[in-house]
């Protein structure tokens, strides 16, 4: 039940975030979605994710607010092209219909299959030595993924430093 309330709140907040005219308010509304997600993670028994989502959300908000605050943003008048909006809505409707069909074939909520995971649960703590199974999976069974994740973050950091250079080209050009 809590999950339904949280998800409906998230959808509402997402609408607000996207439709709000004021940029600052919509950033705050996005923060609301993120913190609701963090609460939902606690409800579904994922404390690791809740902690991570909380701190990531704070960092994202700080960066986004720094990016948007004090920028004299002219009020963007949304072009009401009926055709494009209709096309998007029709696409969303078709997508929702087919995803509903696909969802019905998934296992019921609350009864996952857990074919591979059973072994993690039975032997994971002994084989990796970590009593936090999520850490055991992240840093031992699937440590290679974590290496990739670290590389992705590294690429983003170098990319950001690159994009924010003062001058891109040496010499004459531009």
């Amino acid at each position: 039940m809590e999950l339904y309330i949280l998800l409906i709140f998230m959808i509402f907040a997402a609408f607000v975030a996207i439709e709000m005219q004021d940029l600052f308010s919509s950033v705050i509304a996005m923060g609301a979605v993120g913190f609701a997600l963090c609460l939902a993670f606690i409800v579904v028994k994922a404390p690791d994710l809740a902690i991570t989502q909380l701190v990531v959300e704070i960092l994202c908000l700080i960066i986004l607010i720094r990016a948007t605050i004090n920028k004299d943003i002219p009020l963007v008048i949304e072009g009401r092209w009926v055709f494009n909006t209709m096309a998007t809505l029709i696409f969303a409707a078709v997508f929702l219909f087919f995803s509903y069909q696909a969802i019905r074939e998934l296992p019921n909520f609350g009864e996952p299959l857990m074919a591979v995971v059973r072994k993690y649960m039975e032997e994971g703590a002994d084989k990796t030595g970590s009593v936090n199974l999520v850490t055991g999976v992240v840093l031992d069974f699937r440590a290679y993924d974590t290496l990739g994740e670290a590389a992705a973050l590294f690429a983003a950091v170098i990319g950001i430093v690159t994009v924010l250079r003062k001058t891109g080209r040496s010499g004459h050009d531009k």
């Binding site: 959808i11 993120g34 929702l96 509903y100 609350g110 199974l133 999520v134 992705a152």
Partner: protein, 112 residues
């Protein structure tokens, strides 16, 4: 079932933001919402009724635990989403520098 569907609706709200908004920051927000919805969906897939968090403690047996694998995957994907978000924000700031606007209809040097 209903919960999965609500996640997909959240995904569509984010997609609508990405496709139909003209403000760069709004597009980034839409993308973030899409990522949230998928994280939620994936973690819900691993939820077990009356399950415990996947951390052993000294006085409990292993029997009833939620699926730890989706949580590990979502942990990875949150980090990647953060990386992409940060890069997008940096590019957006630089675009604001160059063009003086966040409106994508005004940012049109490339055509054809």
């Amino acid at each position: 079932m209903g919960l999965y569907f609500l996640c997909i609706i959240l995904f569509c709200v984010g997609l609508y933001g990405v496709l139909r908004k003209r403000n760069i920051v709004k597009i980034i927000i839409g993308l973030a919402i899409m990522n949230y919805s998928i994280s939620m969906f994936f973690v819900l897939l691993g939820y077990k009724f009356n399950g415990r968090a996947p951390i052993e403690s000294q006085d409990q047996t292993i029997a009833n635990m939620v699926d730890p694998l989706p949580q590990a995957l979502v942990l990875t994907s949150i980090v990647i989403a953060l990386a992409v978000m940060a890069l997008l924000i940096a590019i957006a700031i630089r675009i604001y520098d160059r063009y003086g606007t966040f409106d994508i209809t005004k940012i049109k040097r490339l055509r054809g």
